[in-house]
Subunit: 214 residues, 2 copies
């Protein structure tokens, strides 16, 4: 398998964790999202993935895009260890936590969105940072309430074994730290993050551990 | 089953199509997202769904949230008719198209985001409309390129039978029309939408056909 990735892309980070947890070796192909206006927009990468986004996974001659679609694919083709529980209602719970990060927080703080705010709308650097913090803190507040009270919560989001919910949550926590957002108000999230980062699959997927880290 | 829904919420629209396609009867419980600052923030609804979002589906005493998690749950518990193809790579393709709408377009044009732009950042009505159009048109341009050239494309996104990709795409087209975005530049998307809206399951899920439509 080949993974088109950018070290700091949290959607790439999710897929790297999944590949590590399932013990699947892969070739790492860096796509620099900032240099020269973004290598993802260059013809070379557009020919591979016309959507111009990372991550993308090449497997068996097929190019797969969208991190959660890639992770579900890995789950179906390499079911062990499972990243989703067995019962439909439990699977729905884990997917909902993953989507709460992937649809409610992450898209608002993407590079292209921050660029539009600053470049097109002329928002100040301070207001841009406040925007970033707003969506992380309101999203984390809602998640914290859920995780603190839900009986499924263990050392990780769903019991003690990693699920796709952790794959989305941990990279988002990494982003929050990068933007100096304190986690004091989200003790359950902070505790889950601390435990996850003791696991090799998560540590090896961290931005700083990637070949293109700066 | 009980569906907490708002007629104009496109995430609710997705789940309504899924329920209709699978022939599952449900009780419609309206949650007005605008009236009185939004009924989804009121204690009565927060007690049901602390995330304060619609849709939410109650089934078998469980409350499920996040439209795509709900749809995957319906697919697992009521597999026929299938809303995903059989092969993992094809399933990944359909999920990727669905996520391209659900993660790249829709979250940026949510009510709460438009409110923040106008209320907190003081963006003009004109710039807010331009923001809305920007994410729809750039997202549709990318999707059009994909759908126009992909051999999977049929009368619908994947062949001629509805999949979760159509469940995400059609409500997004409805939103685009509501904001007077012309579809001329996206002939494949327009054609898929036209065909989908000849199907009863889609028509019955339309905002105008809901009991809380205004």
């Amino acid at each position: 398998m080949k993974l088109y990735s950018y070290y700091r892309s949290s959607a790439s980070f999710r897929v790297r964790i999944a590949l590590n947890l399932k013990g699947l070796p892969y070739e790492y192909l860096p796509v620099h999202l900032v240099r020269g206006g973004g290598e993802q927009m260059a013809p070379a990468y557009q020919a591979i993935n016309p959507a111009g986004l990372v991550p993308a996974l090449e497997d068996d001659g097929q190019l797969l895009s969208q991190s959660l679609a890639i992770i579900e694919y890995l789950e179906e083709t390499h079911p062990s260890p499972a990243l989703l529980p067995a019962k439909p209602a439990d699977r729905a719970y884990v997917r909902a936590v993953a989507l709460q990060v992937a649809c409610e927080i992450h898209p608002l703080n993407n590079l292209r969105v921050l660029k539009y705010l600053k470049g097109t709308l002329g928002v100040s650097e301070e207001d841009k940072q406040a925007w970033y913090r707003h969506w992380v803190t309101s999203g984390f507040a809602s998640l914290e309430k859920r995780l603190a009270s839900d009986p499924h919560t263990g050392k990780l989001v769903y019991g003690d074994q990693p699920t796709i919910a952790d794959l989305c949550l941990i990279p988002q926590v990494w982003n929050a730290r990068r933007f100096d957002i304190a986690l004091d108000a989200y003790p359950t999230i902070a505790r889950i993050d601390e435990y996850a980062m003791t696991l090799e699959a998560f540590r090896k997927a961290e931005p700083a551990a990637q070949p293109d880290a700066e």
